[in-house]
């Protein structure tokens, strides 16, 4: 009985890891669209107004794109809470994750939120998301320094829920377009919120009910 349970949990772990691996691969491909440097490809194709009128926009954009892929990876590796025989592996992965978010990815994300596609509805969503992302990560960092590891773990789950919105937002987009074929910016307004609100609700549920 006990071994069956262990098998199930092992199976779900494997599923989770392959699932993440698959979406990480998709995200990596999106990131690689911006290499070599070209200010008029992919998402930037419809962002030339900002690129031309705001000289700082591209700096923030590339900061966000190039750091985010490392955040996804380091965050995932840290959340496994194993050192894999490498000394301080969890701690170092966590440090990479935290500092990339606090110094680079979250501030640049908040900046870009002000110029988001889809009008005021999506702008508000992305700015809030950026602020919550920064705050939850900062809180988790402080709790780790204070050696309050249970709280640290919970706040890291929150932080990672916001991090994963990069993936869930794009998943929702594919699903919504497949089902309803709405106009492009209508999709964008929906996914701006659908990308992170359900994520954090699920994590809050798990924290209160399941005591993870």
């Amino acid at each position: 009985m006990l071994s069956a349970k262990r098998n199930i949990s092992r199976l779900s772990k494997i599923l989770l890891i392959t699932g993440f691996g698959y979406f990480f691969w998709l995200m990596l491909k999106i990131t690689l669209e911006y290499i070599p440097f070209n200010p008029n490809v992919s998402f930037l194709m419809i962002k030339q107004t900002e690129v031309e009128q705001k000289p700082e926009y591209l700096y923030f954009f590339y900061t966000h794109v190039y750091t985010s892929i490392f955040i996804l990876l380091s965050g995932f590796l840290a959340i496994l809470r194993k050192d894999f025989g490498v000394k301080n592996f969890h701690k170092n992965m966590g440090k990479i994750y935290i500092f990339l978010i606090l110094i680079l990815a979250a501030p640049s994300g908040i900046y870009m939120g002000f110029f988001a596609n889809g009008g005021i509805l999506s702008k508000v969503s992305f700015v809030i998301l950026g602020i919550l992302w920064w705050c939850s990560t900062f809180k988790a960092y402080r709790l780790a320094l204070q050696r309050k590891f249970k709280d640290h773990k919970q706040w890291m789950w929150r932080s990672f829920a916001f991090t994963l919105s990069a993936i869930t937002l794009r998943m929702w987009k594919v699903i919504i377009v497949y089902l309803f074929h709405p106009d492009p910016m209508d999709v964008y307004q929906i996914i701006a919120w659908a990308g992170w609100v359900p994520n954090i609700l699920i994590i809050e549920y798990l924290i209160t009910k399941k005591q993870i």
Binding site: I30, F43, M45, I46, K47, T49, K173, D183, P184, M185
Partner: protein, 305 residues
């Protein structure tokens, strides 16, 4: 004898010079077929008939039934323009243009009956002979392919009216135009469950529909911004872009655009290349629209933004 020759040559040069000046107004730079050799000596007649005749080009076409593969006769309807560039005593020069296929022709004009016999060069499988009759402003008659087996509809009729082609940036699609793109149906599988609980799937198709935006955004007059275009679908972007080309008389190869623009009374296809006629504003807008079209194509339904 020599002196006579010399005077004749000098006379010819004089007439050539005057002839060229007049000719220029009738021959636009695009016309590839402007017989240079003959124009020197032979005087032009009936300049009043020069111009663009545009209208219907229709006939029976062999169709193949998709379900059982049997052949049946269907109708084909296209818009055609004949340009008469030059008429001399024994030759007529001009060109025909149908769905982006621009062909020169050469033939004869019978003054007494007012009829033309015009031959396309014959080195293209779609070439053939026009036999048309002029009556007032209308030009009617028939066309027969040289190679009857190479084309689906080897015999067609023409009903044309002389029209002045003018570029006008204000031309827009009519507000009551049909917005459905009938020529690009997208197939998809649908499932249904019958009373007995059996589920069957069948393939059906959906047509793209343009939005009202195509009546509002004029890429020949206003500088379009990214904001104007962000919420538009690919079809809208394509129509707004190709409205620019339609205003310049571009003859579309794609059926989608022909169907949209042939609904208007201002669209006269006169050329298969109008790139050099675009205004700087139009060029800018076309580049922007192309970029958004590509984005819509690459990103609309993909994993990404």
């Amino acid at each position: 004898m020599k002196i006579v020759n010399y005077t004749l040559i000098s006379l010819l040069t004089v007439s050539l010079a005057s002839c060229k000046k007049e000719g220029k107004t009738n021959e636009s730079g695009k016309d590839s077929l402007t017989a240079k050799k003959d124009s020197v000596i032979i005087p032009e007649i009936h300049k009043e008939y020069y111009g663009i005749y545009t209208g219907e080009f229709f006939g029976a076409e062999k169709m193949i039934d998709e379900t059982d593969g049997s052949e049946y006769e269907g109708g084909t309807y296209k818009k055609i323009s004949l340009k008469i560039n030059r008429i001399t005593k024994d030759s007529v020069y001009g060109q025909s243009i149908v769905s982006g296929n621009q062909r020169p022709f050469r033939g004869i004009f019978n003054e007494t009956s007012g009829s033309f016999i015009l031959d396309e060069p014959g080195n293209d499988k779609t070439d053939g002979r026009f036999e048309v009759k002029l009556k007032g402003d209308s030009l009617t008659g028939k066309w027969n392919a040289f190679n009857k087996t190479a084309v689906k509809a080897p015999a067609k009729d023409l009903k044309l009216v002389k029209k002045e082609f003018v570029y006008n940036p204000n031309f827009m699609l009519d507000k009551d135009s049909n917005l459905v793109d009938w020529s690009n149906p997208k197939e998809f599988v649908e499932k249904y469950t019958d009373d007995t609980g059996k589920t069957e799937s069948y393939t059906t198709s959906k047509n793209r529909v343009a939005s009202e935006a195509i009546f509002k955004l004029n890429a020949s007059k206003q500088k379009l911004t990214e904001k104007d275009l962000k919420n538009l679908r690919k079809l809208d972007l394509e129509i707004i872009k190709n409205s620019v080309f339609a205003r310049h008389g571009y003859s579309f190869k794609k059926e989608t655009y022909r169907n949209f623009f042939e609904q208007t009374d201002w669209y006269i296809p006169v050329s298969n290349n109008v790139d050099h006629d675009l205004s700087p504003l139009e060029k800018e807008n076309v580049a922007l629209l192309s970029r958004f079209t590509k984005y819509a194509e690459d990103k609309y339904d993909s994993f990404g933004r």
